[in-house]
């Protein structure tokens, strides 16, 4: 069943991404001030939204693990975090490329950039912690606790750096600006469609990673059993 879902997600996400790439390159107009480089924004913001949903999923499943002690929740948490980190890296890299063209520098200590980097480091620490613990129960418990701490810290950091100096462009989506249209509706719709495509791709990656994690756990269990029998 899960294989069918993975294939189905791939069959929807793949053509949709290709179609979006074509429309982004040839269908939508250039931005008045930035020119063609603004097109990177169609991947930059959706990648961030996808990563944020992954982190949120990891936090919820970590809480569920601590309540129910079911290893499946831990497997979902690690799969979502790893996939979220990949999308967060896309967000950071596309932002840096845009910054190089628009600001003339690869990196600025801007609140949003700083927050994204801190967020990435915190969740990378989560993966480091996992790799340093051998016992599966201990690993799942400590990782779940760290994931909860990470989400709280990220939320506080987000608030903190709102008071910092900023040069990052402000919110443009009408859902964030209270209905005020800051970009062309064609551009905004394209942004939503590409967010959907990346979310589908992300769901596919999470499911594939989840299957790998489950297979790995089965192998570990068989190995422990064989070790006990000897």
């Amino acid at each position: 069943m899960r294989t069918k879902v993975i294939v189905g997600l791939g069959l929807v996400a793949g053509p949709l991404l290709l179609r979006n790439l074509y429309v982004i390159m040839f269908g939508v107009p250039d931005e008045m001030e930035q020119g063609p480089i603004y097109r990177i924004f169609y991947y930059h913001l959706p990648a961030f939204l996808t990563a944020a949903i992954c982190y949120l999923t990891a936090m919820v499943t970590s809480v569920l693990y601590l309540i129910k002690k079911d290893q499946r929740y831990d497997a979902i948490a690690v799969s979502a975090t790893e996939t979220g980190l990949a999308f967060a890296a896309v967000n950071l890299i596309t932002g840096m490329i845009w910054g190089r063209i628009s600001w003339g520098i690869w990196w600025a200590w801007d609140p949003r950039l700083t927050w994204a980097l801190i967020c990435w480091l915190v969740y990378f620490g989560y993966l480091m912690l996992r790799s340093a613990i051998d016992d599966p129960t201990e690993r799942a418990k400590n990782s779940a606790v760290l994931s909860i701490f990470a989400s709280a810290s990220v939320a506080v950091t987000w608030k903190a750096i709102e008071w910092w100096r900023t040069q990052h462009p402000g919110p443009v989506l009408s859902i964030r600006t209270g209905g005020v249209q800051k970009i062309d509706p064609i551009m905004e719709n394209m942004l939503y469609v590409n967010t959907l495509a990346l979310l589908l791709l992300c769901a596919m990656f999470v499911l594939i990673r989840l299957r790998q994690e489950e297979v790995q756990r089965e192998i570990d269990a068989v190995r422990r059993y064989a070790h006990a029998m000897n």
Binding site: G125, A132, N142, L146, F149, S153, W163
Partner: protein, 224 residues
């Protein structure tokens, strides 16, 4: 519960004052870092007015990692940690007692470093002494509380000394950011700016949030 917290905190402090392992090494380490900073840039009065708080908290952050790392690691020989966990003291008491001991040690080291910093960098740090000590206390508690919690989380890891700062520093950024801003303002002795209360609220909010979270999750982390 208060009785247990007090017993654990005094046990840790007594043990530390007998050996003086962490105190001596952290104090000398802090002075070395303060000295090294003076080679990294020209410590002119303007520069210090702008970066003083940040420099000072960099030193405290490094020193803090050394102190909190020892918090649970000192219980590893002879399986003392298992004895503590199986004692009548709850996980929350154990955590708060150890946090309190780390706080006292770190605060003492900060009070020692402050005059040294004043001498090395020519700063009249005592102009807002009450406020400065209060801000130092709030910043130190955030480091002691979150640091002790992460010390418990990483105590059994192979790369404990590396993992703790790697996990701790990104997590502490909101607290470090606020306390650096506040310390900078108080060190220069200028009138308090309008955003002073915003940073103070952030620091207090961070402490309340993470102390609550740590107390709530301490039992989960400690019971194996």
């Amino acid at each position: 519960m208060l009785h247990h917290i007090w017993a654990i905190a005094t046990k840790d402090l007594r043990s530390e004052f007998r050996t003086k392992e962490a105190i001596n090494s952290t104090m000398s380490f802090s002075v070395v870092i303060l000295l090294l900073f003076s080679f990294a840039f020209d410590p002119s009065p303007d520069m210090i007015a702008e970066f003083g708080g940040g420099l000072l908290w960099m030193v405290f952050a490094f020193a803090g990692a050394l102190i909190v790392n020892r918090s649970f690691a000192r219980e590893l020989p002879n399986d003392c940690i298992d004895v503590l966990v199986s004692s009548p003291a709850s996980g929350a008491s154990l955590f708060l007692g150890k946090s309190l001991a780390s706080f006292v040690l770190l605060y003492g080291i900060e009070c020692f470093c402050l005059p040294v910093f004043g001498i090395f960098y020519n700063i009249t740090w005592w102009r807002s002494l009450g406020g400065l000590l209060g801000v130092l206390a709030l910043g130190t508690w955030s480091m002691a509380c979150v640091g002790t919690f992460f010390s418990a989380l990483t105590v059994n890891l192979r790369l404990r000394e590396l993992m703790l700062p790697m996990l701790l520093y990104p997590m502490l950024i909101p607290a470090l950011l606020s306390v650096m801003m506040l310390t900078n303002t108080l060190l220069t002795g200028q009138p308090l700016p309008s955003d002073f209360s915003v940073w103070l609220r952030l620091l207090v909010g961070f402490n309340i949030m993470f102390t609550t979270l740590s107390v709530y999750l301490a039992e989960t982390v400690l019971v194996r």
